[in-house]
């Protein structure tokens, strides 16, 4: 037990069957969707692990299991040595609650519409009695609002009186309120303009430098991920297919899916480079292809890929790489 966050062989299956009656009439079997399949990773204290990957690849499902909001079908999550799901450890988990926070992908759903914003932000401080008294609490609410680029006087407003990005900043302020040590951030800045995004990302980095915060950081913006992450895990259809530090991942991506993903980044320089869409159909997660789930879209797929699930070896799960059939791509980025 060494890493701060340890995730082992995590799996989550959802029952997506129609109702019993409809199934009986239509003679359909039950249907299951494997959202997350056999995922393992560690996050060291003070580190930022980022998860990227196609929409629906299971990133939010991993996030919810890591913070203990969703029970896994199989596998384990331990934070600072405390199991997040087992029947034992319930008391230890209570002690952990203050130290873990989550910023949700959907800020609308996560803010109580009937509470004023100052109450929303103060709630974690009250719940865990982190401040000496109400005055200290109020002062901290003001300070947090300022840190996320809002005005302390905005505390008297209700969530619906804010724009989308302002609400996201309220959610970020609340997540920081009880001085957590580990924050799971699901698309924390995608609702923000680039200048406010820069302010929030700089703030998150500063807090990490000062207090050794640990982040699990989910974002589809590869430039943001590159800036924030110490390591990046690339997910595809419920599995991690490659995990590497940003320099390596962006400089020499190995997994064929990672390469396609990097080619699909929009071209801001407007150099006329044609953005390469990721080829092929997005597979159906209810009936995933056998073998490597990426095989129907992979230029390097062979018979082994169509039958055998590639194990994670040295940070990448791909038969072609293991067999030396694919040299790592060298991406020449302009200096």
């Amino acid at each position: 037990m060494s890493a701060f966050v340890e995730v082992r062989n995590l799996r989550r299956v959802f029952d997506v069957s129609k109702s019993w009656l409809e199934r009986t009439i239509e003679r359909e079997p039950k249907r299951y969707l494997t959202a997350v399949d056999d995922i393992s990773f560690d996050i060291a204290k003070g580190e930022t692990l980022a998860l990227v990957g196609e929409s629906g690849s299971g990133k939010s499902t991993v996030a919810r299991m890591v913070v203990g909001l969703l029970p896994p079908t199989r596998g384990e999550v331990a934070i600072d040595g405390v199991s997040m799901h087992g029947s034992d450890g319930a008391r230890d988990r209570r002690g952990l609650r203050r130290r873990i926070q989550m910023i949700f992908q959907d800020p609308y759903a996560s803010l109580n519409p009937r509470w004023r914003v100052d109450r929303i932000i103060a709630e974690p401080m009250r719940a865990f009695s982190t401040e000496a008294d109400d005055a200290a609490c109020l002062a901290r609410v003001g300070e947090l609002l300022r840190l996320v680029g809002l005005d302390p006087a905005d505390g008297v407003k209700y969530p619906h009186e804010f724009s989308g990005g302002q609400r996201q900043r309220v959610a970020i302020a609340r997540a920081l309120a009880a001085r957590p040590e580990f924050i799971v951030c699901d698309e924390p800045t995608s609702a923000l303009d680039v200048s406010v995004q820069a302010q929030i990302l700089n703030l998150m980095r500063d807090l990490q430098d000062q207090f050794g915060l640990t982040y699990l950081f989910i974002s589809h913006n590869l430039a943001v991920v590159r800036h924030m992450a110490s390591r990046i895990g690339v997910m595809y259809l419920g599995r991690i297919v490659e995990i590497a530090p940003p320099k390596q991942l962006f400089g020499a991506p190995r997994h064929p899916y990672t390469r396609m993903l990097l080619d699909a980044v929009p071209d801001l320089a407007m150099s006329g480079r044609k953005r390469q869409g990721v080829a092929g159909e997005i597979p159906n997660p209810i009936n995933p292809p056998p073998g490597c789930t990426f095989n129907p879209r992979c230029p390097l797929a062979d018979d082994r890929c169509r039958t055998e699930i590639p194990p994670m070896l040295d940070g990448v799960a791909c038969h072609a790489i293991e067999e030396g059939r694919a040299a790592p791509a060298r991406i020449a980025l302009p200096a």
């Binding site: 200048s195 800036h227 699909a264 929009p266 407007m270 159906n284």
Partner: protein
């Protein structure tokens, strides 16, 4: 396409003039939109970017007549294909919404009812607007879901919204907005929750719509990459006003307004090494109740000078764009030349 004066553009699908939106609160009227004007032509994509809270979503809501009280339009006008729509009765407006203007809201929850299956919601919307049988409408719904990249749509169509991932829900909302083949689509952060490959797919759907059906699109997004790829022109908003509007390449590569320049300078790049800090514009946007006199950007502007603190800069043509900044007033540029 450049707008000047009040001349009606014959090919404008949408034309907004001096639009003002205010929220009447206990502390007085807050002006969320302060005299904004722009046009969108047939088959054109206008990108709208700007500070979080600048009024982008409110602009979209004002156009479709969906501002929640205590907010309301207190000045200016909105025309769709030349016809005024800002003063229509609620019933007439409801007919336009969905049929002639399709909307993709920033908040996907407002568009999808959690209690109904996706199929029910799509089929109902399609049949309200198009003369199709239930069976035809279902087929059309499945085709639309396939078009926005939902895998196995014939199977997933009967799911409930919560059974989809965030990005998939957003794609359902996009399908819903397109299903009646509207003249104008207002898309508020349509690709925010989507990964780059699905994003490319959605952008392709939007572009195809413009190309093949001449649909006008107002595309609100923070993602400059998406703007660069999709938009013909871009409007940059700050504190309820339009700071600069012009061809997308010019505005992104050589912004004229200091706020636009600050914004473009904050874009994180893929080449970043992660060691350096991201550039941010110092300070924060003023609250609506404390917009400074003169230029709203003046307290944060690196090039501020005397007049900026007194006179509000009016939008003026500069080459093929419109810029609201005293630095680009004709006299000053001439004096500098």
């Amino acid at each position: 396409m450049l707008r000047m004066g009040d001349a009606e553009m014959s090919d404008s699908v949408l034309s907004v003039r001096d639009l003002v939106v205010e929220f009447h609160t206990r502390h007085g009227a807050l002006r969320a939109l302060d005299r904004i004007s722009f046009d969108i032509g047939k088959g054109e994509v206008l990108g709208v970017v700007g500070e979080s809270g600048a009024g982008k979503s409110i602009t979209g809501s004002a156009i479709i007549g969906l501002i929640d009280p205590p907010g309301r339009i207190t000045g200016g006008e909105v025309r769709l294909n030349g016809e005024r729509i800002d003063n229509l009765a609620p019933d007439a407006m409801r007919k336009i919404r969905g049929r002639r203007i399709g909307m993709i809201f920033q908040d996907p929850l407002t568009s999808l009812n959690p209690l109904y299956r996706v199929s029910e919601q799509l089929i109902e919307t399609i049949r309200t607007h198009l003369p199709l049988s239930a069976k035809q409408a279902r087929q059309r719904a499945i085709d639309l879901l396939a078009e926005v990249g939902i895998p196995a749509p014939e199977r997933r169509i009967d799911s409930y919204p919560h059974e989809f991932s965030g990005g998939m829900r957003q794609r359902v909302v996009i399908a819903l907005a397109l299903c009646a083949e509207p003249d104008l689509v207002i898309a508020d952060e349509p690709t925010t929750a989507l990964d780059v490959s699905v994003q490319a797919q959605i952008i392709e759907v939007i572009k195809k719509l413009c190309r093949e059906r001449g649909t006008a699109v107002m595309l609100i997004t923070h993602d400059m990459g998406v703007i660069a790829e999709t938009a013909d022109r871009v409007a940059v908003m700050y504190a309820g006003r339009i700071a600069e509007i012009g061809p997308v390449r010019d505005v992104i590569k050589a912004p004229l307004h200091p706020y636009a320049a600050g914004l473009m300078g904050s874009i994180p790049s893929l080449e970043s090494d992660g060691e350096t800090r991201l550039v941010q514009i110092p300070g924060a946007m003023p609250r609506l109740s404390a917009i400074p006199p003169g230029c709203a950007f003046n307290p944060r502007c690196p090039q501020v000078f005397g007049r900026c603190r007194v006179d509000r800069p009016e939008p003026k043509p500069v080459g093929n764009r419109i810029v609201a900044c005293h630095l680009h007033d004709a006299q000053i540029s001439e004096a500098a030349a």
